[in-house]
Symmetry: D2
Subunit: 368 residues, 4 copies
């Protein structure tokens, strides 16, 4: 059930609706919109009577929500959600006109490696840094990440390079630790239906980057996000990272149609991961261009100062110079789809994008 308030509804009117919901034993979710506020109801095990709410002051209507998801739905919130990430000098938004570019190594291996990566991705225009301290690995014998030591390095990266930190949380036990250091909590594809973890990050104050599972339908993906919102954390960024199919020319099949698909149904921002989505370094940049062209709100890209020496996923990590090229190409595409990449070498000049001379010689060349 969704209770839609009239535009003139006051704070008190909204509070009255919430109290009524709580009295009935359910949970209210206030979703402010540009023009008017809606209040979602969760916790009911059967249909509710709209009349219960429509008689309250300044309630426009009470709508039965037909989709299995509610809080993530555009039915409850028509405008795009813009998620605020980081704070102070590192604050960026995800979901608005500016593309969010998250870059960095698969795993944090050392301070030197992290700093080298951070310096290069910042200079190229990224304002969010990725890097795993707790790594979910297929083999128990593979490098599992530096743990808290890695988190501390990430905090130094933020301090020194002005980059907001995106890092993975793999279980409730270590989630609190990750929350201390991270600006965005990443939930990996293998944990997309780890409902306990979803509930845990749903109780966090930090935004969550939720990756689509390897064989998750769009509905399951949105339901996973719903778990997080239903616990009270509305700051969720979706991420397409490739599905498992029979195709063998890439490690996964990046499903770009899910990006406009998710945007149709949900107000949440959605970004793409062309690194895991292809699993091959030489395919990352073309698919990054395509993701921005299809309407993604941003990218998450693996960049390593020395991919050949990486402890994990080296074959899909870009060299720093390749990331610079990617940024130049993505910036060009962004310019024609109504987006901007406001940082980096080209943007740093007179950032008055009106004079934007556009397609410079550095811009994208199609594959030969």
């Amino acid at each position: 059930m969704l209770v839609v308030m009239k535009p003139q509804a006051s704070e008190d009117d909204i509070r009255a609706v919430c109290e009524k919901i709580q009295v009935l034993g359910y949970r209210p979710h206030v979703m402010p919109g540009a023009e008017r506020t809606a209040v979602g109801i969760t916790g009911n095990h059967g249909p509710l009577d709209p009349a219960e709410f429509e008689t309250l002051p300044n309630v426009a209507e009470a709508i039965r929500v037909s989709k299995p998801y509610k809080l993530v739905s555009r039915e409850i919130k028509a405008e795009n959600s813009v998620i605020r990430v980081g704070s102070g000098a590192c604050e960026v938004t995800i979901g608005g006109k500016k593309l969010a570019i998250i870059a960095g190594p698969c795993a944090i291996e050392s301070r030197e490696q992290a700093f080298a990566a951070a310096e290069r991705v910042r200079r190229a225009g990224a304002r969010l840094f990725r890097g795993g301290a707790f790594k979910p690995r297929t083999s128990p014998y593979s490098f599992q990440g530096l743990g808290e030591e890695g988190l501390k390095i990430l905090a130094e990266v933020r301090e020194r390079f002005g980059l907001a930190i995106v890092t993975e949380t793999i279980d409730s036990e270590t989630c609190e630790l990750v929350e201390e250091y991270a600006d965005v909590l990443q939930v990996g594809a293998r944990n997309m239906q780890n409902f306990s973890l979803l509930k845990r990050v749903g109780r966090s104050k930090k935004p969550v980057l939720l990756k689509r599972g390897m064989s998750a339908t769009l509905e399951e993906f949105l339901m996973a996000a719903e778990y997080i919102l239903s616990e009270g954390n509305y700051n969720v960024i979706l991420c397409e990272r490739g599905s498992r199919t029979f195709a063998d020319h890439t490690r996964n099949t990046l499903d770009l149609s899910v990006i406009p698909g998710a945007k149709d149904l949900s107000h949440l921002p959605i970004i793409a991961d062309p690194s895991h989505g292809t699993g091959r370094r030489d395919k990352v940049t073309p698919l990054a261009r395509a993701a921005v062209a299809v309407g993604a709100d941003g990218l998450i890209v693996e960049v390593h100062p020395h991919p050949d020496r990486a402890l994990s996923d080296g074959f899909q990590s870009l060299y720093p110079e390749q990331f610079e090229e990617l940024m130049a190409e993505v910036r060009a595409i962004a310019g024609v789809v109504g987006r901007t990449v406001p940082y980096g070498p080209e943007a740093s000049e007179p950032a008055t994008s009106s004079s934007d001379p556009a397609p410079s010689r550095r811009t994208a060349q199609p594959a030969p």
Copy 2:
């Protein structure tokens, strides 16, 4: 690395090998075999020198293991593992000549429902009872299980009906509680790569039923089991429960070839779940017959006293009478592939299997 002892090796010889491994900073895993014992080594981040071990007393050889999995591999243990489950009157084995039949409702809904199901599945020949107290559900608004109350009902079922209890653990937080009541800890398909949970159940004393993820390769499946064994719990039962494909006549595509496939590579037992594997009541029995014919070590089947009133998965739960038919058909197939279903109405007659007309030398032998 795998250190294979000579047949005449004593306990002391084995202990010496373990100590050497520990001194080097690694972890020994003693795997006793019918003829000789092997000691697996985990924790090393690079190749070891076989000479370090081959010079110890009564070591036959030290073998570099080429596969990414070690402890689950037939290279380390050639004979089938037979897992002992439950205790006292409820003790059964999984992986031997007797088929393990696990049956019961998707979720425990009430004492009445559980008892009604237990009474019927026991009478039909099941000796293991399934039922979820903690349910991983796609929607946060769906019934999530009765929690500890459900576990208590399961304990009563064991007491009253002499059935060993299989129930799911969904996170580390509640794992200890589940361990208290369960005889077998189930890890669901969605958690197959929840590595924190795998490590947690790897430290449990209770056997683990590990379901294959919806799009997991056989290697990933075995690596997930390896996580559990690498923590010291060697009592793992694999379970095929259907993969996600384009096909739409069933909810999942039950991949029966993975059963002989897993047996080729691993000593662990593997059973099939035709309920989730098809998602349709009318397909459960034919696929149960096929699973036994292909060589499965057992079945896990959803049975509900009133499927039409079930709180979850009712459309794939069998009516008790259908389960009786399934058992009769499975018993017939078992008889010709060298297996037995030693309980239930037909078995209760002269259970002296000597009069058993079947398993001629020419008939089917399960994969070794």
Copy 3:
């Protein structure tokens, strides 16, 4: 539209219905049943009026058919179709109590190879021989079959060994040639939606073995069969041969649930191909057992006298001794699911199936 006749309807009554249909510009399909005859109507581009037919003598009712397929549907014919294949000494049926076992090499390579294979598969109990003369190959540079020379060898095999011949037709140009020599025309998975070829074999007098496409849904599979029936050839045998999925432990994923699935919806017989379905020799026999257990009407198996020297698919072809084992195991399973394999070494003894110890009333019944 389906016109169902009353049980007492005479030939003339049926003829009157057909004439009426033709007068309206459509096509009648007479489908005799055990108790009464139905006449299917195809060729209409919109709904017909039942009253047009229900007023004719001895018409019970005229039913609008809701499914996209009509002639293959159980709605039009409730009993299983039993297809008569071959003639004289080579006549066999597919779809009844007796399992149809089709065996032989992937491709006919020489008279010696074909005879050696035929001798062994006949002795083991097969009564149908497979072997390609026209081979659809992924590469234009691979062996494409012996063409007519291969067909002549197949005719000799029939003559000499009393085996009905199943061989593939790959295009309309050579279909007539294949028809001359073959007892059953095989349409391969890659041609399942080659609608021109389907129509061509639909005009043939020979039965058709139709393989499921690598990513065909059940509905598409039945619609492909419908193409054949709609041209007047009602003798179609379906064949599951594995789907393409992400799984890499077998070449394809054999989808055994499609066997009861097809039987629910269609009266046509369906067999399984565990050779292509797994692509690995060591998995053929376990999956053959499973296919019979699930209710398949038969098997098609690749057997080569010298698989290591085969010009195609050698790695999935059985050695003759392995095929003998397969037959022994399949015979045992058949016995408990109400089927028989009436030929071969064990069957040749007192073939008085009365002494047959098996099919008790409780044992497996094939899907109706």
Copy 4:
């Protein structure tokens, strides 16, 4: 085997190589390149001796080709193939700097419908017209196309609107008829491994548009093209049209990574079909943008004057105004990836693309 000539090799030198190949009983394929010519050899059933050719005048080297495909490979021809399509006023190229835009209805239904579609797509900038006269349909009872009548309408469209014609050929029987009228022969996804048809179009003088099969690997796709080239027709345009996966938010999953993937391995041009690739009208334009961004050489798009009244695929056909928007968005993307769309409303102004005013207000807006 690939015989690479020296840059200074004369026509006579090349002829001498070809004669030598023919004398040996094989088939030569002359592949002229920008700098030097290579001669492919097919028809050999085993390895050849390089020395046989390296001793001929002006042969640089004879290389054993390791990939299963030869003629389609970049090993044999490093530069992109640019395919010349149509003639006279209708001549266009596919594979060069200019994007090839193919648009029109799924099926030709009438002269009025075809003309209405042609007028609009021409005006928007398309120079190739698509429309089926022979339609492969899942159901034998669905509209199968107008046949030759449809082809005649297509010829009128070419005459009247100056559009080159792309239309499907579904079998060898009608291929000659289609060749008479078409400028490009389309081979549909369901026929990608109809090898008889591939050979037939391989003997045609007309270029071929080859669609990727629904579950074809990249290697199988290239091998299907190899069939066409091996018969002497080197004018093949590849087309990605979506794969079959578990995902249900689109009809197929458009695999854009196959575009750079094919370009890595092959010199053939490759375009994308976002209409079949998504199966949903509202996803066609975003995926068209993405396809151009990833590097596609063109697009094939379904446009119908009245999609709601279409006899086939209406739900995925664009309205003419939607196609105009698509063209404006695609033109903007093309501009930043080094491509042009030289026709249509915006291009028709001062076509001196230097002054290209670029992203007009009509250009792409990301999905809300």
